[in-house]
């Protein structure tokens, strides 16, 4: 869920962090110093965030936690994999292509106006409308008429998607480009572009960004001001399940290591766990460290445009030469999980272990396999975006490859993310590279579409788009939802092709102050702030 942008925001001082490790204390000694007293029974807490700038759900990229408190999604995926309905009463289809969404009656926006089907249709049209350039508009791309609002050249001639029809106040129909069994999942909590905005607020989007009005359990108190904390309080007329607290303060930090230290001092109650602190978090925070399983997966990207990587055995050998367990323990404090499939384990039906021996550390077999494939000529230069605290990780991988395969492997950072992205998309690199994908809804479909379809667009992933895989994914989309089994079958094809070695199933890490008794999550890896349990 956190994008590279957030992670990169932490930059600068990665080295400082190791140095200060000696000065850290036990969290037991430091009490929760401040934060406002609860107004009534429910209590309040604060969370460290990256300053969002953009709060409109169709545009935000680092305000997921805020968005998930101020808006209610149509559907919600629970931790046990069950899909529940929140703002939607039902989402049904007979052919997986025409979906009927029925809203719950009696739900209101924070301004008191009812949430109607028209609001949804207007919002989605606004988000998808090309000239608005909404960053998250891609989440609507599967709806018929999306292309009309986003023509390749020139201005769109219409402002509405043909695939959206209002049936009555509480019902609307969605016509997709093709059958898709995962549509109800795509309406779940982290697909924020699908959150409703009141129709009348669409006239002035700048004003709406300053003070968004949602349909969720919390409402924004004052206008949002950049770089300043913003507060949400429980919305009294919320028709859904009441949150466990009354008030949340989101405090912007420019450096998430500072936020970590502030959480240690009890000045902020929930903070994300910076990579540089993963190994010491348990000492600092004891049992107040959380590693939430997330729909994120990392790969060692391979330059398939370079013929030295043509032989599948070369790719398999590289994979077997990487000691995932040790890297995880030493660099990530054991927070991640070595990947054994091509989609994150939390995505239902993921065939864990399908990667088999190729995802295990087998240095001798790796060397033998590379030998058999004819060896490797020249330097193997691993390229990754610099300034994001990834140096240790890629140096470790380069070491593995050098020692186990005898190749001349080095890890080289680019100046920043933009330079990396350009080098990767221009195929300007001839060695392995940084590659990961964090899905927004936990379905194998969400990860596979981005990775293995030419239309997917994971720009840092390996460009491997075999036709049989595309056909198999389409078939799985069209099949009724079977808990991910049909998508698992697609991975049989992928493992044979072995485009790039999966590295880790990711977790998103958080730490809390003593004020928090338990932080709970949902399958998208972010904390579920509406259900946080505060200490007495």
């Amino acid at each position: 869920m956190r994008t590279r942008r957030t992670r990169l925001a932490t930059i600068t001082i990665a080295t400082a962090l190791t140095l200060s490790a000696c000065g850290s204390t036990d969290s037991g000694e430091t009490g929760s110093a401040e934060t406002a007293a609860p107004e009534d029974g429910g209590g309040s807490f604060s969370m460290a965030v990256t300053d969002p700038d953009l709060l409109i759900p169709g545009r935000q990229s680092v305000a997921f936690d805020f968005a998930m408190t101020v808006w209610a999604p149509l559907t919600f995926l629970e931790l046990d994999g069950e899909l529940t309905y929140v703002q939607a009463e039902s989402v049904e289809s007979e052919d997986q292509q025409t979906w009927t969404v029925t809203l719950r009656d009696g739900w209101t926006f924070h301004d008191g106006s009812p949430v109607t089907a028209q609001d949804y249709v207007d919002t989605w049209n606004t988000v998808a409308y090309g000239p608005h350039a909404f960053e998250n508009s891609g989440q609507l791309a599967a709806i018929q008429g999306y292309d009309d609002l986003n023509p390749a050249d020139g201005e769109p001639t219409t402002e509405e998607m043909s695939g959206l029809t209002v049936v009555d106040d509480l019902t609307f129909e969605v016509e997709l480009e093709g059958p898709d069994s995962q549509f109800p999942l795509q309406l779940s909590q982290a697909q924020t572009a699908l959150y409703p905005m009141p129709s009348e607020s669409l006239e002035d989007l700048d004003a709406y960004n300053t003070h968004p009005i949602g349909n969720g359990p919390f409402e924004l108190v004052d206008d949002y001001v950049e770089d300043e904390p913003f507060v949400v309080t429980a919305y009294g007329d919320y028709a859904g399940e009441a949150p466990t607290t009354d008030q949340i303060t989101f405090v912007p930090y420019t450096d998430n290591v500072t936020a970590y230290t502030d959480a240690l001092a009890g000045n902020v109650d929930v903070a994300s766990l910076p990579t540089s602190r993963m190994t010491q978090a348990a000492d600092d925070f004891g049992d107040q460290v959380y590693a939430f399983e997330a729909p994120g997966i990392s790969f060692l990207g391979l330059p398939l445009w370079d013929e030295r990587y043509d032989d599948v055995r070369v790719r398999q050998a590289i994979s077997m030469a990487i000691d995932r367990e040790t890297i995880n323990d030493v660099i990530y404090g054991g927070q991640y999980e070595p990947a054994t499939a091509f989609t994150p384990a939390i995505e239902p039906g993921t065939p864990e272990g399908i990667c088999g021996q190729y995802c295990e550390y087998r240095p001798d077999e790796a060397a033998a396999l590379l030998e058999e494939a004819g060896g490797f000529e020249g330097t193997m230069e691993i390229t990754y975006p610099g300034g994001g605290g990834l140096d240790e990780f890629y140096n470790a991988i380069a070491n593995n490859l050098r020692q186990n395969l005898g190749v001349d492997a080095v890890a080289t950072p680019t100046a920043d993310w933009a330079e990396f992205l350009e080098a990767r998309t221009d195929e300007g690199i001839d060695g392995p590279f940084f590659s990961r994908w964090g899905a927004l809804y936990p379905s194998q479909q969400a990860t596979m579409r981005e990775l293995f379809l030419a239309t997917g667009g994971c720009t840092n992933c390996v460009p491997s788009y075999p036709e049989d895989v595309a056909e198999a994914i389409a078939a799985a989309d069209a099949a009724p939802d079977d808990g991910g089994e049909s998508y698992a079958a697609v991975q049989e094809l992928i493992v044979e092709d072995f485009p790039s070695p999966p590295l880790f199933f990711e977790t998103y890490g958080y730490v809390t102050s003593d004020k928090v008794d338990e932080l709970v999550t949902s399958p998208i890896g972010n904390p579920r702030l509406t259900h946080i349990v505060l200490a007495d």
Partner: protein
């Protein structure tokens, strides 16, 4: 004086044009497409990228982009950030933080530095003199982030004297720690300069005359030596203020102070040309203005400069 000032003003305009163009060109040549990178590893739809690129004139050649920018500046429009916020507004909200931090640090640096330098200069070769030298050089040689993070852990976390981060407790509580660390790095220069200057003045003929005349020592030091030694230190302090107002990026980051340095850092990272140029230009202006002020002040303090 008028001729002197008008010449400086013409210089100011030339420097402004030169600097804005150079900075704009530098941001322009940074590798990578800022708009494509905007979404992080979650790519933006192609037409969104195209739309945004057109909106920020990034699809034009450099000189056209720059003319667009310059045209905006002349009408008082400094452009917008990639999130659509006016650059002037983004800067306005951050200046107070940086100015507060810079002035606090500057005042500390001046007071402590001048006193240390004076004491060392009056007692050259003493333990105090050597102690000041050793202490200030030692402090300067520790990387700023080590000092910053350590201070946070000791004074913020262990002792709890100061907040660890943020500006929520206002001045002075939120600024003491970061300002003290920033000031520490200027101390060695200020105290060395002051020491040398005081030592020179003490050896000068007029001081010997004053001593012979029987003037009390504290009057000699307080009135005559101080004034005659101040010029070089003042020049340094003025330039230092320019630096400090440029934002102390690392300290602002560590202490989560949303100042101008952070804005510059963030905008370089995201290749936001208008913001980088806007901030840089503002800093250049600050620098130029402080240097003009220094010239004026020095000539007031030391009439010899005026006659040169």
């Amino acid at each position: 004086m008028t001729r002197f000032l008008s010449r400086r003003l013409v210089e100011l305009v030339v420097v402004f044009l030169g600097v804005t163009f150079i900075v704009y060109a530098m941001v322009f040549t940074l590798p990578g497409d800022p708009i494509a990178a905007l979404g992080g590893d979650r790519p933006l739809p192609e037409n969104v990228v195209a739309q945004l690129r057109a909106e920020y004139h990034l699809d034009l050649p450099l000189w056209q982009q720059y003319l667009h920018y310059l045209g905006g500046v002349l009408t008082g429009d400094l452009g917008t950030t990639f999130t659509g916020r006016p650059v002037s507004e983004a800067m306005a909200s951050r200046w107070p933080v940086t100015i507060t931090l810079a002035l606090s640090a500057w005042a500390l640096e001046m007071i402590v530095g001048v006193l240390l330098g004076l004491a060392a200069g009056l007692r050259r070769g003493s333990i105090l003199d050597r102690g000041v030298l050793l202490g200030t050089v030692l402090a300067t040689s520790i990387p700023v982030f080590v000092l910053g993070v350590s201070a946070q852990l000791v004074f913020g976390l262990e002792l709890g004297w100061f907040p660890i981060a943020g500006t929520s407790e206002g001045w002075p509580a939120s600024y003491v720690l970061p300002a003290a660390i920033v000031a520490l790095y200027g101390l060695s220069s200020v105290s060395r300069l002051m020491r040398g200057s005081v030592a020179d003045t003490m050896r000068s003929d007029f001081v010997r005359t004053l001593v012979a005349k029987g003037m009390p020592r504290h009057d000699i030091v307080g009135v005559h030596v101080m004034r005659n030694s101040a010029a070089p230190v003042l020049t340094f302090l003025a330039i230092e203020l320019g630096y400090l107002l440029g934002g102390t990026v690392v300290i602002e980051g560590i202490f989560n102070l949303p100042g101008i340095g952070q804005l510059l850092f963030e905008s370089i990272r995201t290749h936001e040309g208008p913001t980088v140029v806007g901030v840089t230009t503002a800093l250049i202006v600050v620098f130029l203005v402080t240097s003009v002020l220094v010239d004026v002040l020095s000539s007031l303090i030391d009439p010899r400069i005026r006659h040169e």
